[in-house]
Symmetry: C3
Subunit: 130 residues, 3 copies
């Protein structure tokens, strides 16, 4: 069983859920009632953090698990932890200003790309050698 990867998965889900609680809070702060998803830029940025995190979940989770299955639990969990740190930096930057979102975005994108590329490389290598 890939215990460490499973724990990182739970933490990534916790952060994803956290971004949605921030949207609920921004709705209250900006007086933006559901179902509206447009309005004040302060709401828009927090909403985009949630949406962007949601967009990356189906890139991150399968990459994480394929990497773990083909290349090992510990390395997958370490890269997955970096992804979560990048996501936290992204959230913390973007909620302040749109142009502060780049660094965290780059960190999480690189971590996810490393997981994806490592997994794909390992799979292709296995197919070629069996």
């Amino acid at each position: 069983m890939l215990h460490l990867t499973a724990i990182v998965t739970c933490l990534a889900m916790a952060f994803d859920f956290f971004t949605s609680t921030q949207v609920a809070r921004a709705r209250a702060d900006c007086g933006n009632k559901a179902p509206s998803v447009t309005g004040h830029p302060d709401f828009g940025r927090v909403f985009r953090v949630q949406m962007n995190t949601l967009e990356w979940m189906p890139l991150f989770l399968p990459s994480l698990w394929l990497f773990a299955m083909y290349l090992g639990d510990l390395a997958a969990a370490a890269l997955g932890a970096i992804w979560i740190v990048g996501r936290i930096l992204y959230w913390n930057g973007y909620r302040q200003a749109a142009n502060k979102r780049s660094m965290g975005f780059a960190v999480q994108a690189l971590a996810c790309f490393a997981l994806w590329l490592g997994a794909l490389g390992a799979i292709v290598w296995k197919v070629a050698h069996t």
Copy 2:
């Protein structure tokens, strides 16, 4: 193989797909042409049901499967079925009025949280005892 969890997964996907068919229907009813996603509140609420279901899929499915792998097929499938029932209540409430969405939301949130917490607890217990 975790057959019951697999069946609940198929049913959850079927409901998720159903929410997107309701958006297509609401587009026709409200005269809201694609690619627009704003407009009449009747459209907005149905669109939010789809979006919120989409937002919860990457929380629900990994929690469901980790719970099933660590704590068993039957309990996972039972909690997963409660999640689907909560989602149906949420859809049925929210499409009528924004303030009728709370009960179904709470049911599905509790079911998902139980899956997530049970999985995380079981994983940590395993790591600590091996």
Copy 3:
């Protein structure tokens, strides 16, 4: 290990990521600054391609893997490849005009439905025969 299904999963993630790069490009072309997600229809259509791809990922990936586990790697990967082709057609049509999105949409929907139905049928058959 389900190597071919794993490769198709990596390719599907690559296409999903590609649709988000097109949104960034359309933001530049249409002068639509983040966090706004409304504006010019040329932006709206490209944004909807990304969103719709995102909406289908939690339908496609679990269906693909359940099909692969219950009915075999090769058939799953073949249907998964058709799904990706349908997604490319959908993107190429929709970015030109809203009414050119139907054919690609139908191809990917049928491929995904075949994966879902095949998986569900095989699971129910297994439960009934064990």
